[in-house]
């Protein structure tokens, strides 16, 4: 889902930092902030071997588009790219990239931090965590 200002993708292949960076680059912008969420080898004291992401793709793209619109309209950034991986993702691989550009750096940091928080709160994507001794859907159980 690509427009002049937003590039939103859910991908089954490795995410590219350069693709996101090149999309947000803008002659009028001096501040670019990129967040990358990678797969960590531990969680809550247990060893993680890999993750598996499942997305409700149509709705996830819509929710991501709302987040991008808020970043542009309320935080004042010029461009935003959000790429999220789906399927199996190994240690140190990128699960998500959020990249924003703005005239000054403050808006870039704020919008980037807002976007990853909003993504984790409301975008219908689910993470199955594979541990040494089993697997489970994250956040599913009390």
């Amino acid at each position: 889902m690509k427009s002049n200002k937003t590039d939103i993708q859910i991908l089954s292949t490795p995410l590219s930092l350069d693709d996101c960076y090149n999309f947000i680059l803008d002659e009028s912008c001096g501040g670019l902030c990129l967040f990358v969420g990678t797969v960590r080898n531990h969680n809550k004291g247990k060893t993680v071997t890999h993750l598996d992401f499942e997305a409700y793709e149509g709705m996830a793209l819509k929710e991501l588009a709302k987040i991008a619109a808020t970043a542009i309209n309320e935080y004042g950034v010029k461009h935003i790219a959000i790429h999220h991986r789906q399927g199996a993702v190994g240690l140190t691989e990128k699960a998500v990239i959020i990249a924003v550009s703005s005239v000054h750096r403050k808006a870039a940091f704020e919008a980037c931090e807002f976007a990853i928080a909003a993504l984790k709160e409301r975008v219908p994507i689910w993470k199955k965590e594979f541990l040494l001794d089993g697997s489970h859907w994250v956040n599913a159980r009390p």
Binding site: G37, F53, E54, A55, Y56, G58, M59, A60, K62, H84, A95, V96, I116, L119, K120, E121, R122, V123, P124, I125, W126, K127, K128, W137, V138, N139, A140, R141, P142
Partner: protein, 78 residues
């Protein structure tokens, strides 16, 4: 009426898509109750939301057979 299932909801229902024929739940609240009756395991997990036509839907939203309906367990992307 067809209901998409994701994440742990897919595990509980053992299906990525439920079909309800005949008398269908009239609103989101009825659907949630129907799901808990049919699949009691829903009582043991964190609260699921319902999306109607790819938007989060309150309990009072009415359901129609042609709606795109989905069970949304607690999300964990990113």
């Amino acid at each position: 009426m067809e209901i998409k299932c994701f994440g742990i909801a897919k595990e509980i229902t053992a299906s990525s898509s439920l079909k309800i024929d005949g008398a269908i739940p009239g609103d989101v609240k009825s659907l949630k109750e129907w799901l808990k009756l049919k699949y009691p395991a829903f009582n043991n997990i964190n609260n699921c939301l319902i999306a109607v036509n790819q938007e989060y839907a309150e309990d009072t939203v009415a359901l129609y057979p042609t709606d795109e309906i989905a069970i949304i367990p607690p999300v964990s992307g990113g």
